[in-house]
């Protein structure tokens, strides 16, 4: 059973070794369980609202204006951050920057742990990061930190995240904002 917390010395593919695969279309993955998207969204919102220093890591696919959808997604990512009261630390490109990284202002998939450790981030969202780099980063985070990871993926998802939501486009992101608002009300915020 996939657990939260530093899992190993080496960033091996925890989820895959436990035979956890990405969710089928229309579903989401929560730890090692395939659940309805709504349930996973609620749990993701809860994690971001209740854990310390929640942060969103937007990747190049939403940071840059390379197409119309990217523009719209950027607006929604900003709204998600505002609704959650979460910080935004960009993953603006993929070149390694160690040891020159400024972990307060940026995150890099080759050493995401540095940013997470430095800012004591206990819950985070990956969005707009190319799948390969998201997976590389998520494995390292899983191996070395106790950060609760959430992936909002435009493709098939990331089994190494604690919660992975697949096929997330503008409609789904808007739905996520609604869910966050609901959960906030439930939590009395």
């Amino acid at each position: 059973m996939a657990k939260l917390g530093p899992s190993s010395y080496s960033p091996y593919p925890v989820a895959m070794y436990e035979s956890i695969l990405n969710p089928p279309p229309g579903k989401a993955l929560m730890y090692d369980e395939i659940v309805d998207e709504e349930i996973a969204m609620r749990e993701a919102a809860k994690a971001m609202l209740t854990r310390d220093n929640p942060t969103i890591f937007p990747g190049p696919q939403v940071l840059y204006e390379w197409n119309e959808e990217a523009k719209e997604k950027a607006r929604l990512v900003r709204r998600i951050a505002d609704t959650l009261g979460a910080k935004i630390i960009p993953m603006y490109d993929y070149r390694p920057k160690y040891p020159k990284i400024d972990p307060e202002k940026e995150i890099n998939p080759n050493h995401p742990n540095l940013t997470i450790w430095h800012n004591n981030i206990k819950a985070c969202i990956f969005v707009g990061v190319h799948c390969h780099y998201a997976n590389v980063a998520l494995k390292i985070i899983r191996a070395e930190t106790d950060c609760f990871t959430i992936a909002l993926c435009g493709n098939a998802g990331h089994e190494d995240a604690m919660i992975t939501l697949r096929d997330q486009h503008t409609e789904e992101l808007e739905k996520f904002i609604r869910v966050i608002e609901e959960v906030k009300r439930e939590l009395g915020r």
């Binding site: 091996y12 390379w66 993929y94 494995k139 089994e159």
Partner: protein
């Protein structure tokens, strides 16, 4: 985003259909053709963008025919490269630039190109290599032998092993579909035993040639296509060599595990499009079980029939379709009830035997016999397989003259 329902056509003017329709539903017509011709027919229906070729027996004919498809407008880019090393790099370039790419090679060419395969995998390029295995040289030989598959097993590519021309046809089409899934997106090697398939003419059922797979969408790639059409500007498509310390080693480790994880993610897709990662054949009660892949699987089937019909021995075959990912669970399930497992192979080292032993070790207690085994181009007559099994069982050999 809503998908439009209108009919779409690819660049060659073929109607775009779903992989499910092309592979499972479209009407099929029986043709009598060689494995090489089948490659052409499969590529023709796959909306392929680019191919680069280099002559080496026995794959040359298939490569020629991809060239004909280029002339006919079914393939966008085609040329002869300078060597297999050059070709595998050129197709890597094609794939990085966002093309659906296919190439073919054989035997020594595979080894000359070797450095490229882990690079393809590390760069997450869903290139399809149709490998017509022929063995590795010295002394010079061009004959069927699949030793080179052993070298490819751990390059980070998916490897499927087709039994006949029909399966090769279906695997080539399915290969593109599975390899290009965004969460898989690693190279696919569709292997056959050269000559046994490439030069053999047999009946193959194929769908019409005015329909084809949906074109490749490079913007769903887990890495950025190199076309200056997608952010980010800067990224590294290379293992992380810049620094030497724990942090960078961990990144490199994660990168490599990610490639292996990607192969694992192909399981459900492969299972769907190949109708299972293994095929079971013969008497379900069979105590003699052949575990084999490719042509060895075909020969084992033939031997199984002789044993059932003429020797009264209950036998069956578990044919492995996907070598990477290796069907551990399926194999374990399938060998239940076996008394002996024979692994017939067309190579001198017995790489499949190694794989089977690894899969079964500690899980079942059934003797695994790495036999019969031929190499250097020898055929494996079914009569010979039967003889080996009978001798092992201490039974009288009467079938073979």
């Amino acid at each position: 985003m809503q998908k439009t329902q209108q009919v779409q056509y690819n660049r060659a003017g073929q109607r775009v259909v779903s992989p499910e329709y092309l592979l499972f539903e479209a009407p099929r017509e029986k043709q009598f053709m060689t494995g090489s011709e089948v490659v052409k027919e499969a590529v023709k229906r796959s909306s392929v963008d680019a191919s680069v070729s280099y002559p080496i027996t026995p794959q040359s004919e298939a490569a020629h025919m991809i060239g004909e498809l280029w002339v006919e407008g079914y393939v966008g880019v085609y040329f002869r490269g300078e060597s297999e090393f050059g070709v595998m790099s050129e197709v890597a370039g094609c794939s990085m630039a966002g093309a659906r790419t296919v190439t073919t090679t054989s035997g020594p060419g595979t080894l000359r190109a070797m450095e490229n395969f882990p690079m393809w995998a590390g760069s997450r390029l869903p290139i399809q290599l149709v490998l017509m295995a022929r063995g590795v040289n010295t002394p010079l030989s061009i004959q069927p032998d699949n030793l080179e598959i052993s070298f490819l097993l751990d390059t980070g590519c998916m490897i499927w092993h087709a039994e006949n021309a029909q399966e090769l046809f279906d695997m080539i089409i399915a290969g593109f579909v599975v390899a290009e899934q965004p969460d898989v997106h690693v190279p696919i090697i569709t292997a056959i035993d050269g000559f046994f398939i490439s030069h053999t003419r047999e009946a193959v059922n194929i769908p019409p040639d005015d329909i084809a797979l949906p074109p490749y969408n490079p913007y769903k790639s887990p890495l950025v296509p190199i076309d200056m059409e997608m952010s980010p500007g800067r990224f590294l498509r290379d293992p992380y060599v810049m620094k030497s310390n724990y942090i960078s080693y961990a990144a490199h480790t994660s990168w490599q595990y990610e490639v292996r994880a990607a192969i694992e993610r192909s399981r459900p897709y492969a299972k769907h499009y190949l109708r299972g990662l293994i095929e079971e054949f013969g008497d379900p009660e069979g105590e003699i079980v052949f575990v084999a892949s490719g042509t060895a699987g075909a020969q084992a089937k033939e031997a199984t029939q002789i044993m059932i019909h003429e020797e009264g021995i209950k036998a069956r075959v578990v044919r492995i379709k996907t070598l990477r990912p290796f069907p551990y669970q399926e194999l374990l399930q399938a060998v239940q009830g076996a008394k002996y497992i024979f692994v017939p192979e067309f190579n001198v080292i017995g790489w499949l035997e190694r794989e089977v032993r690894r899969a079964l070790y500690g899980n079942v207690d059934i003797p695994v016999i790495g036999s019969p085994r031929v190499a250097g181009g020898m055929t494996m007559p079914p009569e010979f397989i039967v003889k080996e099994v009978l001798e092992y069982l201490g039974k009288e050999v009467k079938h073979v003259i």
